[in-house]
């Protein structure tokens, strides 16, 4: 199994007629992803990369049974597009563009909670279940089907971690990009619980970085998990950043530095890795055997 997406997922591309939408639709299809349709208001009836285009998500869902969507649209259209998808019954929405206004992502999150939808991003490289489906912009070369789940705030870190798992024989079940924007559609704990329930996933690598609170608030979930969690936090040597005023300090308190994140995660039982190469060593020490 895998989480969120597999070879049976029926994928819709919102913004399929744009340059990025078209380019990555082709790549995703080549990987074997089941792209069943795209949307672009006013362009219903066209065909892009062999895929039918619909005017609205609702039409696309009716015609194709699409259950997951990837958004390739400029940031200012993402709120509309994501909520349209959520209301049309799409189960997972992947927001590739970056710089989504914070209020927009909060509105999307609210609708997603109401309908039980999982939204990833903004600024996510996407999600891949190796050998089954690749949604977004991730480079195929890093991934191979195996037994470790990964979840990360950064695209490049996702690739490096998967590359290391692939080369050490562990491979991946699913790699999830949470996204790099300051407010995200999903948090680490949302995704960690899915990996905990996935029978094929034997351990999870979570990668965060300085800033924000998403790593710290994952600690309760991690302490409830039976599967080993390996954590990496970027920014141990980063110069101190800016704080969000007094109100930010009062709300977020002692969170946001590499130190506070590592401490929260280690206290919850996660195993810290400093470099990518330490990950397979920790897996081995945890008694997990390579997949191939």
């Amino acid at each position: 199994m895998a989480i969120l997406v597999d070879k049976n997922s029926k994928v819709l591309v919102q913004g399929i007629t744009g340059t990025a939408g078209q380019f990555h639709t082709k790549r995703m299809i080549e990987y074997g992803t089941q792209i069943v349709g795209g949307t672009s208001p006013g362009k219903g009836g066209e065909i892009v990369e062999g895929v039918p285009v619909y005017d609205t998500v609702e039409f696309a869902v009716d015609a194709t049974g699409a259950d997951i969507s990837v958004i390739f649209l400029p940031a200012q259209f993402v709120r509309e597009a994501a909520i349209e998808a959520i209301w049309a019954g799409i189960k997972h929405v992947v927001v590739i563009p970056e710089h989504i206004p914070i209020f927009d992502m909060m509105a999307i999150r609210k609708e997603a909670k109401r309908y039980g939808t999982i939204v990833l991003g903004g600024n996510t490289p996407g999600i891949i279940s190796p050998g089954q489906a690749n949604l977004g912009i991730m480079p195929d070369i890093a991934f191979k089907r195996g037994k470790i789940g990964t979840v990360s705030r950064s695209g490049s870190i996702t690739y490096y971690v998967a590359d290391t798992l692939t080369r050490s024989g562990y491979g991946e079940t699913t790699c999830v990009g949470l996204g790099g924007d300051p407010v995200l559609g999903s948090t680490f704990d949302d995704i960690l619980m899915l990996f905990e329930k996935d029978p094929e996933t034997e351990a999870v690598v979570m990668c965060g970085e300085i800033g924000g609170v998403y790593e710290e608030i994952a600690k309760d979930t991690i302490s409830r998990m039976k599967k080993p969690v390996i954590c990496m936090i970027g920014g141990v040597f980063a110069p101190p950043g800016k704080r969000m005023g007094h109100a930010g300090a009062i709300v977020e308190g002692n969170m946001g530095t590499a130190k506070t994140k590592l401490k929260a995660l280690e206290d919850a039982g996660a195993h810290p890795a400093k470099t990518f190469l330490e990950i397979p060593r920790i897996l081995e020490a945890e008694g997990i055997k390579p997949a191939y």
């Binding site: 490289p125 040597f237 109100a247 009062i250 709300v251």
Partner: protein, 397 residues
């Protein structure tokens, strides 16, 4: 994106929050005139994009026009918290009876808007909040919720505003919340809200931070001259140059030039270099799909830095494709040339094309590539980091 105090006050005034009627001045003569209009007294406040102005000497009380000129002459041309002082806001002196703190921000963990108020204001609100959590009142809201009158009135009661001021306090509280929502703020603070001896409530200082990413839907702010701006204090010449070229860049104090790919590995790469005993000369985000021209500019920036002894290059192509990366590196080698050793690794989307471009260019002019050690997916990135540390150490010797 932070606003100047006078800008923030303008936005508050738009939502009927009483603010001090200060005068924005650019010369000591203007400061003198402003003070004369306030019966010879006032508060001079430097307008910079930073908090903590008072403690840094950027806020001064003056008792006479002559003193105002002296103080203004000292302030203009000085730097406060790294910012050159170009403008001073002259506020009338208030007879302060009491100071409150009011703020609105986002609770990212819970995805809610949070209103925070305290009956003790002032710059030490954070310390106060830590020691007296029971005296700091919070109320949180869903993103699409408005603050009802009974809620702002209730907050006013909790904050112990005097009975005859409650109605006004309630209007200020809801006005602050409205301002926050109206302009896509990340933070809006009145710090402090002053109750004067005369019994008036007035915002003495104001702080607003906007969501840069939402500025596109606020043409009214752009009309006010509020556009994307840089919030750092002093920038190094290289940071300025990087900024002019749209390159996210910070100078650090080491000797390894970092050309790392996206921001995620830009941050973690700094850790790796440190783990292997090296010191990065910079932070850079070279991801996000830059054009070959911009990539070439990034390398020039590193190569021109005399502190840099070796360059660490990494590209794991996702949205930033390897063919563009190779084009950028080749453009740099041809037009500028590499004057220090560089070790790099390239893999990811379009890596085959990237490798082909390199081989073609190398066959044409091998001398351009003599200082480059190029690797692909077979070499772990850790080895590249370790090698960069070695190269820098050799060069420094």
């Amino acid at each position: 994106m932070r606003l100047f105090e006078y800008e923030a006050k303008q936005l508050f005034a738009n939502n009927k929050i009483p603010v001090t009627q200060g005068v924005l001045c650019s010369t000591p003569a203007e400061v003198r005139n402003a003070v004369l209009n306030f019966e010879g007294k006032g508060v001079l406040k430097v307008q910079i994009l930073s908090g903590g102005r008072g403690k840094a000497g950027g806020i001064k009380k003056v008792e006479s026009p002559e003193q105002a000129v002296d103080v203004a002459e000292d302030l203009f041309g000085s730097t406060v918290k790294g910012f050159p002082v170009e403008r001073i806001l002259v506020d009338p002196l208030l007879n302060i009876r009491r100071e409150y703190y009011l703020g609105v921000t986002i609770d990212r963990a819970r995805y809610r808007i949070v209103f925070i108020g305290s009956p003790t204001g002032g710059v030490d609100i954070e310390e106060f909040a830590k020691k007296n959590p029971d005296k700091v009142f919070k109320e949180s809201f869903e993103i699409d919720e408005n603050m009802y009158g009974f809620q702002s009135y209730g907050l006013g009661l909790q904050l112990k505003f005097r009975k005859e001021r409650l109605k006004q306090a309630s209007a200020i509280i809801s006005g602050l919340y409205r301002t926050f929502k109206q302009y896509d703020c990340k933070l809006a603070e009145i710090i402090p809200l002053v109750e004067t001896e005369e019994g008036e409530l007035i915002a003495a200082d104001a702080r607003i931070s906007l969501d840069d990413d939402a500025l596109f839907r606020h043409p009214d702010l752009v009309k006010m001259g509020i556009e994307k701006r840089h919030e750092e204090g002093e920038m190094t010449p290289r940071e300025k140059l990087a900024r002019e070229n749209g390159i996210p860049y910070l100078d650090l104090d080491g000797n390894i030039g970092m050309f790392p790919g996206g921001a995620g590995f830009g941050i973690m790469g700094i850790d790796f270099i440190n783990y292997y005993g090296g010191k990065p000369a910079n932070f850079m985000d070279s991801g996000g799909g830059p054009t070959p021209e911009r990539l070439a500019k990034m390398l020039e920036l590193l190569d021109d830095n005399p502190a840099v002894k070796a360059i660490f290059g990494a590209r794991f192509g996702g949205i930033s494709r390897c063919d563009d990366f190779a084009k950028g590196v080749i453009m740099f080698l041809k037009n500028h040339g590499l004057s220090k050793p560089m070790v790099m690794r390239m893999t990811g989307n379009q890596w085959e094309e990237g490798v082909r471009l390199f081989e073609e260019a190398k066959a044409e002019s091998p001398e351009l590539f003599q200082d480059i050690e190029a690797h692909g997916i077979e070499t772990p990135i850790e080895d590249i980091a370790r090698r960069a540390v070695e190269l820098a150490a050799e060069e420094a010797r």
